[in-house]
């Protein structure tokens, strides 16, 4: 294979000494690969321009924002951030978002973890219905839920409370979490649990002491996606919260429509809302990809 003078893939071309190949194909390929690298770098930069504009604008004064031609180099100001953070009850909304995001994530992981374990390892009545139902519930659009949830949550006194919001987010996130964790639990060899049973461990001990530590990568992926939904969700939070319990996306939108458009402040809010997403992306790209591809690609 290595001596065949046919076009080969880039990875194999790299493994071969360039001066052995007399056809000139290697230099040509090298050139092409370098060109592709540059092209991709340009593509990535152009792709990020909207995010760059968002962040740059949040550091501009009102006058700079209003200028016809965009300014790329300027003296950054923290004015927008100080306005947003200290004059707009933004800190309260950020606290709400953090509480809702963290609590719903922990609850989803514990409840979803237990359910996935039962679905993989136990036999019980209604198992097939539950796993199919979970798959279908994953697809429900929030807009379908928004009217009845508003009615029910008002009726049960859950509207305008953080707990009410947490509850619906746990429900929305469970199907995906169960789906991801099932594949991780299925990969654990049965012998581990059988040995634990012989040693006298009960099912709960096995689950918390053996299973949970082994599926940490799955838990990480599920946690990021759960937190992302809870942190970003808009339409349910819009109708289920009031001035005190509002979350960040709702606060940002209300600010956008209420006061005319002060782009400096709004982009500062937007940057703060987007910040966890950007941080997660760089810290946990691997888990993100395993979460995004879950169900679409085996393994």
């Amino acid at each position: 294979m290595m001596t065949t003078a046919t076009p080969t893939s880039g990875s194999r071309a790299r493994g071969r000494a360039p001066d052995v190949d007399l056809s000139g194909g290697v230099t040509h390929r090298r050139f092409w690969e370098a060109g592709k690298g540059v092209l991709v770098a340009i593509l990535a930069f152009v792709y990020m321009i909207p995010v760059i504009v968002l962040i740059l604008t949040s550091f501009k004064t009102q006058v700079q924002v209003m200028s016809k031609a965009p300014t790329w180099i300027f003296m950054p100001t923290l004015m927008n951030y100080s306005t947003v953070l200290f004059e707009q009850s933004f800190l309260r909304y950020m606290t709400n978002s953090l509480i809702v995001g963290l609590v719903s994530t922990v609850l989803t992981l514990v409840v979803g973890g237990c359910a996935s374990y039962a679905l993989v390892r136990f036999d019980f009545v209604g198992k097939g219905t539950i796993s199919l139902g979970t798959l279908l519930l994953r697809m429900i659009p929030p807009a379908v839920l928004v009217v009845p949830i508003y009615v029910l949550w008002t009726f049960f006194g859950l509207a305008d409370t953080l707990f009410g919001l947490i509850l619906i987010y746990v429900g929305l996130n469970l199907p995906f979490t169960i789906w991801v964790l099932i594949s991780f639990i299925s990969d654990i060899p049965l012998e581990l649990e059988e040995a634990a049973v012989v040693d006298g461990c009960g099912p709960w001990r096995i689950f918390f002491r053996i299973i949970l530590p082994l599926i940490k990568p799955g838990l990480a992926a599920a946690a990021i996606f759960t937190f992302r939904i809870s942190w970003n969700e808009f339409i349910l939070a819009l109708v289920l919260t009031n001035r005190m319990t509002r979350t960040l996306p709702v606060a940002t939108t209300i600010y956008l429509t209420d006061t005319g458009i002060e782009w400096g402040n709004i982009t500062a809010m937007g940057t703060l809302v987007a910040l966890p997403a950007i941080i997660f992306t760089f810290l946990a790209a691997k888990q993100l990809i395993s979460g995004l591809t879950a169900g679409a690609i085996k393994g």
Partner: protein, 295 residues
């Protein structure tokens, strides 16, 4: 199998009960409640006792409601244009980056950012970019010699603007799925085709795309379902306008319930959305089953 008999009796039900209870209360019960609501005439903000049973009247109204049919049409156009563009761009970028690029992991990370950012932020960001006075897009089109446009307020321009925004946010999803799919393809058929002298394009067209087909289908259906669900970007960028030109079904439901205050009618419109999603989900399950059962 032996293990499954180790814990019998009540234990399995204790493990599954919390999840079932929460799903039943937060998803299943509201859906059933939504069906019930669709038979009532009830204004938002009035007490529950004041609602009136009207039978199929809401359905009869919805059947002749131009706003509902408009929003279904808008949803279909938005979904078709966005998902098709994302499919072709995603495939193109995946084949381009498939191999031989240094720092591929870094670029892949960059491309995830739009997916992770809150749709609300994506909406306000692109509203700013499309802004008639200070937007980057008008600035660039003017440099290229075109007249500045009121993108989000002009009929015929708002929809393309919303679609461009969706393409920006979601093409990376397609790309990431396709890249992962390509990397898990068996190498033998590709190598065999290369030995036989197939060109790069022939390998892609006749070997890789057929092998990738299941992943492509799953990605397309997942994106269609997501596009049917999306409303934040339109909510922020246009609020459905100009007129009702970008009023997708989800936004129509919100406006009917919380602007026109007609809860019963909104519940009927939600049933339409649910029906679309159900059909798509069943299609997804049928297509994804081989992939899922191999896990």
């Amino acid at each position: 199998m032996g293990h499954q008999r180790l814990f019998r009796g009540v234990t399995p039900y204790l493990f599954i009960a919390p999840a079932v209870a929460i799903l039943a209360f937060t998803c299943l019960y509201p859906v059933i409640k939504g069906f019930e609501l669709s038979f009532y005439s009830w204004s938002l903000g009035t007490p529950i006792a004041s609602r009136k049973y009207v039978g199929w009247e809401n359905f009869a109204w919805a059947w002749q409601d131009p706003a509902l049919f408009n929003s279904i049409k808008v949803t279909l156009v938005f979904t078709a244009c966005s998902v098709l563009a994302e499919l072709f761009l995603g495939l193109a970028i995946a084949f381009l980056l498939e191999k031989g690029i240094r720092g591929i992991a870094f670029f892949r990370t960059i491309f995830i950012i739009p997916i992770m950012i809150a749709p609300v932020v994506v909406g306000l960001l692109w509203r700013y970019l499309f802004d008639a006075n200070f937007g980057l897009i008008n600035y660039l089109t003017q440099l290229a010699g075109f007249e500045p446009k009121i993108w989000l307020g002009t009929p015929g321009l708002a929809m393309p603007a919303v679609i461009v925004t969706d393409i920006w946010q979601w093409t990376p999803f397609m790309f990431i799925l396709f890249l992962a799919g390509l990397q898990s393809l068996p190498s033998d058929p590709v190598e065999a085709a290369e030995v036989d002298g197939a060109t790069g394009w022939q390998v892609i067209r006749h070997v890789k795309i057929p092998l990738l087909a299941p992943v492509i289908w799953v990605a397309v259906i997942l994106r269609i379902i997501d596009a049917f669900r999306s409303l934040e970007v339109m909510f922020i960028m246009t609020f459905g306008g100009p007129g009702r030109e970008t009023e997708v079904l989800s936004l129509n439901i919100y406006k009917t319930a919380f602007m026109s205050q007609r809860l019963g009618l909104a519940a009927v419109n939600a049933i339409f959305l649910l029906a679309f999603i159900l059909v798509l989900s069943v299609a997804f399950l049928i297509i994804a089953r081989p992939t899922l059962s191999k896990r």
